[in-house]
């Protein structure tokens, strides 16, 4: 039954792809695309740096112009975390037994390093509009800190409920800020705060706020994936 269902899904997807590629109306003909007529030029235009207010052009595109896409990306990550949680069980009570004790230096040194890692990750998240980096790498570093503690301490169990609450709150706030843009300005996720001087910490309007939320959401999602992999059900 499962295999049949999978086959139907697979074939349906194939049909959809063929239909989409066969569509001659919405796709320009091969070789006839006018590359000078793309939005990329407008994004990279120097005037737009002052329009968005972000010193980092990648951040300006990812959050400023393509905020809606980013919301989708974060949702993809959320769904994959949910998939991992489904694949394993929900009733996680016991820490997975790693059989081998971590050595002393790793166990005690990782606590020192964890502090540095968290500060670095928060620095990267909050400076996403000024330096390379931003929400996604910062969130990944938070999660790697959690992974380090899991590997370094065989008794450690992170507060996974806190992570879930954090993830939910961050996701909801992202959407709420988008809706505020719809109300206060004209469209979803539009910037409604003055963008300030380029290069200052408090600049670029809603970009830093959204990037902080993305960072917290990504970090807590990946941390919950790590937790799911390293815990198991209480064997009855």
């Amino acid at each position: 039954m499962k295999k049949l269902f999978g086959l139907i899904l697979f074939m349906g997807l194939g049909v959809l792809i063929i239909l989409a590629l066969n569509n001659t109306i919405s796709f320009p003909k091969f070789g006839s695309v006018d590359l000078s007529d793309r939005v990329a030029d407008a994004y990279l235009d120097n005037d737009n740096v002052s329009e968005v207010g972000s010193a980092n052009i990648v951040t300006a595109i990812v959050v400023g112009y393509r905020g809606f896409d980013t919301l989708g990306e974060v949702t993809v990550l959320f769904i994959s975390a949910l998939g991992v949680a489904f694949l394993f069980s929900f009733k996680k009570e016991k820490r997975l037994d790693l059989k081998f004790k971590p050595n002393f230096m790793l166990k005690h040194g990782s606590k020192l390093l964890f502090g540095i890692m968290l500060v670095v990750s928060l620095y990267i998240i909050t400076h996403g509009h000024l330096t390379p980096g931003g929400g996604f790498p910062g969130g990944a570093i938070i999660a790697s800190g959690v992974l380090l503690l899991y590997l370094a301490d065989d008794k450690f169990r992170s507060n996974i409920k806190g992570f879930k609450v954090l993830e939910g709150v961050a996701g909801s706030l992202f959407v709420i800020i988008g809706l505020l843009g719809l109300i206060l300005a004209t469209s979803f996720l539009e910037n409604f705060i003055a963008s300030g001087t380029v290069g200052q910490l408090l600049s670029a309007g809603i970009i830093p706020i959204i990037y902080v939320l993305i960072g917290l959401k990504v970090g807590s999602e990946i941390a919950s994936v790590v937790d799911n992999f390293l815990t198991e059900e209480e064997s009855a």
Partner: protein, 86 residues
Amino acid sequence: MEILDIIVFSLMGLGVLFTAIRLIIGPHFSDRVVALDTFNMIVIGVIVVLASVFKSELYLDIAIVYAILAFLETVVFARYLEGNRK
């Protein structure tokens, strides 16, 4: 100063080459982990010197993040190796 940059880069590049050879031929998994650890440290050096060549301190952020991830990588591989017990 360009010639000095080239000297530094070539020294580090030779180091990277040697560790890469060990990474490929290393008879055991543990040798590969050691080679990878050394490799990552040299790459941190390369990033820092690149930051100096490009005169941009933003590259140092990348070096910090790389150092963090390199350490984590070493720990993860080492813990995996422990599972391969005799």
